[in-house]
């Protein structure tokens, strides 16, 4: 891979944006009812039905999938550099699990019923994710310095505890109340209002710009923490700011779409193979690759067994679990068996 130049940066991002637009167009034409984008252009007899199906059902869902994939893909790339661990991912770190527990607890307590107009479940999920990051920082720091190495293990343990608490809630609370949140928990792309989609887009784009400004610092941190310091990087500040931004976008999409697993793992590794390891390109490229990946994963989820829908989290976990094991085996080399 040649080193990054403004030309390569522009060409890569441009190609990815074109691929994203094409993916949206293709997937908007796929579904259990046989309407395609062409029906809209052709002014067919049932134009209104086609319009309703595509613009009110498929397109919002596709855009939501794109946002979730973009956030999780970029967050994965950032976590991997920050934790100096290629296996890091918001799901494995417990950020998504924290969101799940927050949503479950709020629903079990009946909070959404008290204020039905407010996005209570989403807010609780958001708080759960942010609280998890705070706990991760506290538990993995010593004398004011965050030590990245134990973070992943701490995250795995927290996930286990979260799952136990969720199962406990399930046992205690009558199950009809939990039906909606149970579906959310596996990861399902909802059909959302365009207003929410626009708001999420703004948060995502601003966060991505913030992360991109730390791209070079993340490169230097990949070359070693001390090396980064000696090259002028304020490692603590970079790590805290980038982890918080990555967690923020993770929490924002997970609170809406549920904890979709492994996107943050598969996507950055694929993007690195295609575009190289430079984070100034890798972070935006992971966002765009993640958007495309999740659009197709969700289209698969809603079409493969139509009219029955599979939660998209099932699709990504079935791809991601084996991928993680393959990667771990390759990473660990001989050490895997010792």
């Amino acid at each position: 891979m040649p080193p990054l130049t403004s030309r390569r940066l522009a060409l890569s991002i441009g190609a990815l944006l074109a691929a994203l637009a094409l993916s949206v167009a293709v997937c908007a034409s796929l579904g259990s009812s046989r309407y395609t984008l062409l029906d809209l252009l052709r002014h067919a007899a049932d134009e209104e039905t086609a319009q309703a199906m595509i613009l009110r059902v498929r397109l919002p869902r596709i855009l939501m999938a794109a946002l979730a994939g973009a956030a999780l893909g970029a967050a994965g790339a950032v976590f991997q550099a920050d934790l100096r661990n290629p296996l890091a991912d918001p799901y494995i770190l417990g950020v998504s699990g924290g969101a799940a527990l927050g949503a479950f607890a709020a629903t079990a307590l009946g909070l959404p019923a008290i204020a039905p107009v407010l996005p209570v479940r989403e807010a609780a999920a958001f708080l759960g994710a942010i609280a998890t990051v705070a706990v991760l920082f506290v538990l993995s720091s010593a004398r004011g310095r965050v030590v990245p190495y134990p973070m992943l293990l701490i995250g795995v343990i927290m996930n286990t505890v979260y799952l136990a608490l969720i199962l406990l809630i399930e046992t205690v609370v009558e199950s009809s109340r939990l039906h909606g949140v149970r579906l959310w928990m596996i990861g399902t792309i909802p059909i959302e209002e365009y207003g929410l989609i626009a708001a999420l887009s703004v948060v995502l784009v601003l966060s991505l710009l913030g992360l991109a400004s730390y791209g070079r610092d993340l490169n230097l941190m990949s070359a070693g923490e001390e090396a980064a310091r000696s090259l002028g990087v304020t490692v603590e500040r970079t790590r805290v700011v980038t982890v918080i931004l990555a967690s923020l976008i993770t929490a924002a999409v997970v609170s809406v779409a549920g904890p979709i697993g492994f996107v943050g793992l598969i996507v950055p590794h694929s993007a690195r193979l295609m575009f190289g390891p430079d984070h100034r390109l890798l972070v935006p490229a992971s966002a765009l690759t993640g958007a495309i990946f999740l659009i197709f994963a969700d289209t698969l989820a809603r079409t493969v067994m139509a009219p029955t829908e599979i939660p998209v989290g099932v699709v990504t976990a079935l791809c991601g679990g084996p991928f993680f094991l393959w990667l771990y085996r390759r990473q660990a080399g001989g050490g895997y068996f010792q």
Binding site: P86, G224, E226, R229, S230, G232
Partner: protein, 269 residues
């Protein structure tokens, strides 16, 4: 250095430093001054504080007491980026994540010269490539670090330090894992940069003979204190080696360079 003595470019005064969880301080009152253009070898047994001293000198670690001065200014008042434009460091055993190429590694040395949003300019590429040529790596610029020998990897990291265009180069055991040829090669390059460009070099070493042959000044550390400091011939004496390294050794003199070299005989029981 002959008089008039130029002001030190890098100095520590009354350094107090204790490692996390350590019982006592490693350094308590250590002082040392390096003048511009010097080539200093820091030697001493395991645990004597060589690497820690280098990290303190580079500003990567902060002392609990005393002062590190860079170009006459307290290093705390120099911003990390400005510091990185003056001081480059080559650490031991760097594990580099992800598949960066040799050229990308060398370009990393340009970071302190560039703003956050700025991509590397043509002059940055020129500087990185010049450093790679210096390190004899020009043909390997698109190779990945993982596929290189440890000697080539080490040279790539030195190239990164050189493309920083520093005034001071700090190196921690730069030749630890290298074979004879590459050890000499790296020292020869350093000596040339020191002579031709006035680069100030401070390097730690376990290889006393190499340090004595190439360094104009040796600093012998023992339990966090400077046991001896001066031209190699005054530092490498059998008494000092016996006391500091707890090893009986014979000191001979290389007929050609005049540098002392030691022949270790047996550990002191």
């Amino acid at each position: 250095m002959t008089s008039p003595n130029p002001a030190p470019i890098l100095a520590v005064r009354d350094l107090l430093f204790r490692h996390r969880g350590a019982r006592g301080p490693l350094f308590d009152g250590l002082s040392l001054a390096v003048r511009p253009g010097e080539f200093v070898g820091v030697i001493g047994p395991n645990g004597s504080g060589k690497t820690t001293l280098l990290m303190l000198l580079s500003g990567v670690l902060a002392p609990q007491g005393g002062e590190v001065a860079l170009g006459g200014r307290p290093v705390r008042s120099v911003s990390p980026r400005e510091r990185a434009r003056m001081v480059a460091v080559v650490f031991q055993e760097a594990r580099i994540l992800f598949d960066f190429t040799v050229l990308e590694i060398a370009l990393m040395g340009r970071a302190p010269h560039l703003g956050a949003w700025r991509l590397e300019r043509p002059q940055d590429f020129a500087s990185a490539r010049a450093a790679l040529r210096e390190m004899d790596l020009a043909d390997l610029e698109s190779a990945h670090l993982q596929e290189m020998s440890s000697g080539e990897r080490q040279r790539a990291l030195i190239a990164r330090a050189l493309s920083q265009e520093p005034r001071i180069l700090l190196m921690d055991e730069p030749t630890a894992f290298l074979d004879l040829k590459h050890r000499l090669q790296i020292y020869e390059i350093l000596v040339r940069l020191n002579r031709e460009k006035g680069l100030t070099v401070v390097t730690t070493s376990h290889d006393l003979n190499l340090a004595a042959r190439y360094g104009s000044r040796l600093v012998l550390l023992h339990r966090g204190r400077v046991a001896a400091d001066g031209p190699p011939a005054t530092v490498l004496t059998s008494e000092l080696i016996r006391r500091v390294y707890e090893t009986d050794a014979r000191i001979e003199r290389d007929a050609e360079s005049g540098a002392p070299f030691i022949v270790p005989i047996a550990p002191v029981r």
